[in-house]
Symmetry: C2
Subunit: 151 residues, 2 copies
């Protein structure tokens, strides 16, 4: 079978997974350090979703590392299906969380007194990082979905 | 070729398209009648996206009606690809818009004085209708995507 870049067990997939984890961690750091995020529902949602994305991406990154360096790509239909479903759910959740955070932040910026410019910039950065993480997660999902019918 | 329910040109697809259009129109009505929606970015985004969903769904509903009643299902790979891409983009946009609206509304409800309970309930209903429209749009997309490799 031809090796499609970006599917589970390739080095491109490893790069995508590491990118997802890094952006999700960056989003968590921007949101959590010194910030009382738990007073807004949308921010709690973002933290929850990013807290799910990090272990998921790191687990699959470990699988990719094994496949790339120990040369044993385990491509069973069941495993790829689980990966596709997980990526799909997480990408929808990340998109919803990042757009909620972005809209709430723009509302807070527009109404004075709710957050300082410095704090709101951090919220916006957290939303942007979550958006990038969504984009990479969507790419992983598309590559694996493309592989699925040929298994 | 076996007739997969929900793909372009079937009666199930017609029902899905009509549902999308009805929910999108309901969301627009809840948002626009008597309400100053244009003061919030998230609400403008919702109105824009729902304004795109309505003509898209109605156009495809007309195609479905022709296929169902005049018995001429035009299933070319190019047409289905365009439908799949359009559904995909619109489903992502609807999800982002409905989650933004829902989070902004919950924030407005939490901070007193920004909107009355009656107004906020209408915003929430608009978000719920947009969410239902997203769900139907996602279903259409999945059915057509499933059909695509067999063409």
């Amino acid at each position: 079978m031809e090796e499609l870049p970006g599917t589970l067990g390739t080095s491109a997939s490893l790069a995508l997974r590491l990118g997802q984890a890094i952006f999700a961690v960056a989003s968590l750091l921007f949101m959590c350090l010194d910030v009382e995020f738990y007073s807004y529902t949308a921010f709690c949602f973002l933290v929850t979703v990013m807290g799910l994305v990090v272990p998921w991406s790191l687990t699959l990154a470990v699988v990719d590392i094994f496949s790339v360096f120990i040369k044993n790509p385990a491509r069973q239909r069941g495993i790829i299906s689980i990966v596709v479903i997980g990526d799909w759910v997480l990408s929808f959740l990340s998109l919803a969380a990042s757009s909620s955070t972005a809209s709430v932040t723009s509302l807070l910026l527009a109404s004075d007194g709710f957050c300082s410019v410095r704090l709101c910039t951090r919220y916006q950065l957290a939303a942007a990082m979550a958006f990038l993480s969504w984009f990479l997660s969507l790419s992983s999902w598309l590559f694996n979905l493309w592989l699925l019918p040929s298994l």
